[in-house]
């Protein structure tokens, strides 16, 4: 089963779940457009790619607990040269707990695949995330800063995974009197193969529109 299929199944299951749950206190879903830049660095060289991706995230909140599922897919083309484009598939499932109004702790699996005509590189991370939130304009404009580290990671490329971490910072603008909010954020992460044989950095600026329903 490819990483893309696994990500699709996970995301589909999580999207369906909150829609079916009638006891949800809060449910939300958003659509996103990503501007993605990918860099792969090896000893003495590397490659750069960029492209756009589209994704969605579903969120199911009950009290202090949140279940999130996200999925994104896009196409990365080489910035230089004539290398074949890659398809980027990214999916995650996160169980979040909010111990303080401004702090969210998350954990869950994160799958990422780079699909090329010749082969597919699949990464699997089990992440621990911490997210801080602060209002710039109360009830209207909110900032967040998030960092994560892979507690465990794996990749189907030798010599195997050597770890990953990343971060995200962004803004959420809530539209008054409407169940919609707009999110603009920048995220960056870096995954390494064992022995620092190679590192892959993915940066993304994304713009999303979120629909929330109580």
């Amino acid at each position: 089963m490819s990483a893309r299929v696994v990500a699709l199944v996970l995301a589909g299951a999580l999207v369906a779940s909150p829609l079916a749950a009638q006891v949800a206190r809060f449910a939300g879903a958003d659509g996103r457009i990503y501007r993605v830049r990918f860099r792969s660095a090896v000893q003495g060289g590397g490659e750069a790619r960029s492209g756009f991706a589209a994704g969605a995230q579903a969120r199911f909140v009950r009290g202090r607990v949140t279940l999130e599922a996200s999925y994104a897919q896009g196409r990365l083309t080489a910035a230089t040269g004539s290398a074949a484009p890659l398809s980027l598939v990214d999916g995650s499932l996160a169980f979040a707990f909010r111990p303080k109004p401004w702090l969210v702790l998350k954990t869950g699996p994160h799958l990422r695949g780079y699909v090329a005509p010749s082969a597919t590189e699949r990464w699997v991370f089990w992440e621990a995330r911490a997210r801080g939130e602060s209002a710039i304009v109360p009830y209207v404009l909110e900032a967040h800063l998030e960092g994560w580290v892979a507690l465990a990671s794996g990749v189907n490329v030798d010599p195997g995974a050597g770890g990953a971490h990343g971060g995200e910072a962004g803004l959420t603008l809530r539209l008054p009197q409407l169940p919609f909010s707009v999110r603009l954020a920048y995220a960056v992460d870096r995954a390494k193969l064992a022995n620092d044989a190679r590192s892959e950095t993915v940066e993304a600026v994304f713009l999303g529109i979120t629909y929330s329903r109580r």
């Binding site: 660095a41 710039i136 404009l141």
Partner: protein
């Protein structure tokens, strides 16, 4: 011989009266009188009973003691062959307590016979009124029980303190007992004002003239029910309606700048410098603009629409409750309730 007997009788009377004189209270006089009555010393007994009835106290005789003194006085006078005095004692007893009957085991038939004869010729009533009657609703009334010595015509009315009659309650015959009711209103149907009134019961003779009157003092108070208190102001339930100036703006600016710096620094921190896409400057700009714009706009306090809406609902809910209480209190003020206190009945002879 006759002189000696007279002297002996005077000596006995003197000794008895001396003993009686030592008795200080009317109750003691009564007890000595009953003892003398039992010893057939009727002259002594009569003197003691009259003394007990005449003494004001202390303590004064109770109605039961007074009735006991009068029935014994009547019997004593009868045995002293003073029938008129006996009848007068029984009549006084009947006026005091129309339902009184001599004990057949204590007094001989001739006493009961005279008492009955007097009772049939006496026209008087006694009244029993609850000490306090509350008139709240339309059906509430002051309940007066009348007890008559014998069948006769009476007229019951409520009078002002100056004697002016304003409500006729009953006019007709009364046999053994009768219940009359007063609803606290005048003849026109209006509730009486607060003040002092009298319930007057006139007993009429065969010729229709008033032979005896019973008066029950009545004191009427107008009572208003306690007003309900207003619900406490909802201050504790209110949330701030405005964001304070200064601090919030500075915090917003700091947050925006921190966010912008974080976006700028993230590639170096997370990717070891192998990143830094230009597009992220849009996020940097959004952070900076958001913080700066908020800082500039928050120099004055800013309203919080959600909190204002919440407070509006809280205030409306409180106002609804307060209006209901005010309306209930207004309705209570319109309601008049009477508190009727009855005093001790007094009997007087007719004109």
């Amino acid at each position: 011989m006759r002189i000696r007997a007279t002297f002996l009788a005077l000596a006995v009377l003197t000794v008895s009266l001396a003993r009686a004189a030592r008795a200080q209270s009317p109750a003691e006089q009564l007890a000595l009188g009953i003892r003398a009555y039992g010893d057939l010393e009727y002259d002594t007994a009569a003197a003691l009973f009259r003394a007990a009835l005449a003494l004001p106290g202390p303590p004064p005789l109770t109605d039961a003691e007074r009735a006991r003194a009068l029935v014994h006085l009547g019997a004593t006078e009868l045995f002293r062959e003073r029938r008129d005095a006996a009848a007068a004692a029984f009549q006084a007893l009947l006026v005091l307590e129309p339902r009184y009957r001599p004990d057949q085991l204590v007094f001989p038939p001739e006493v009961s016979g005279l008492f009955e004869e007097v009772r049939l010729g006496t026209r008087a009533v006694a009244a029993t009124v609850p000490p306090i009657t509350r008139i709240d609703a339309a059906g509430d009334q002051v309940i007066v029980w009348l007890y008559a010595t014998s069948y006769h015509q009476i007229e019951v009315a409520v009078l002002h303190a100056n004697g002016v009659r304003f409500r006729s309650v009953y006019a007709g015959g009364v046999g053994d007992s009768l219940q009359v009711l007063w609803d606290g209103r005048t003849d026109t149907g209006a509730l009486v004002e607060a003040g002092s009134y009298y319930l007057d019961v006139d007993s009429r003779g065969i010729d229709g003239r008033v032979v005896r009157s019973l008066v029950v003092p009545l004191t009427v108070e107008r009572v208003h029910l306690d007003a309900l208190p207003l619900p406490p102001p909802p201050d504790a339930l209110m949330v701030p309606e405005r964001v304070a100036a200064g601090g919030t703006g500075v915090r917003a600016l700091a947050t925006g700048l921190a966010g912008a710096v974080a976006v700028l620094a993230l590639p170096a921190v997370m990717a070891g410098g192998s990143g830094g896409m230009v597009e992220r400057l849009a996020v940097v700009g959004a952070f900076g603009m958001g913080g700066l714009a908020t800082f500039l706009s928050q120099r004055h306090t800013q309203p919080i629409p959600e909190n204002i809406a919440v407070n509006r609902e809280v205030r409306l809910a409180w106002q609804r409750q307060a209006d209901a209480v005010i309306a209930a209190n207004a309705a209570k003020r319109q309601e008049v309730h009477l508190l009727v206190r009855a005093g001790t009945p007094r009997t007087g002879q007719g004109p």
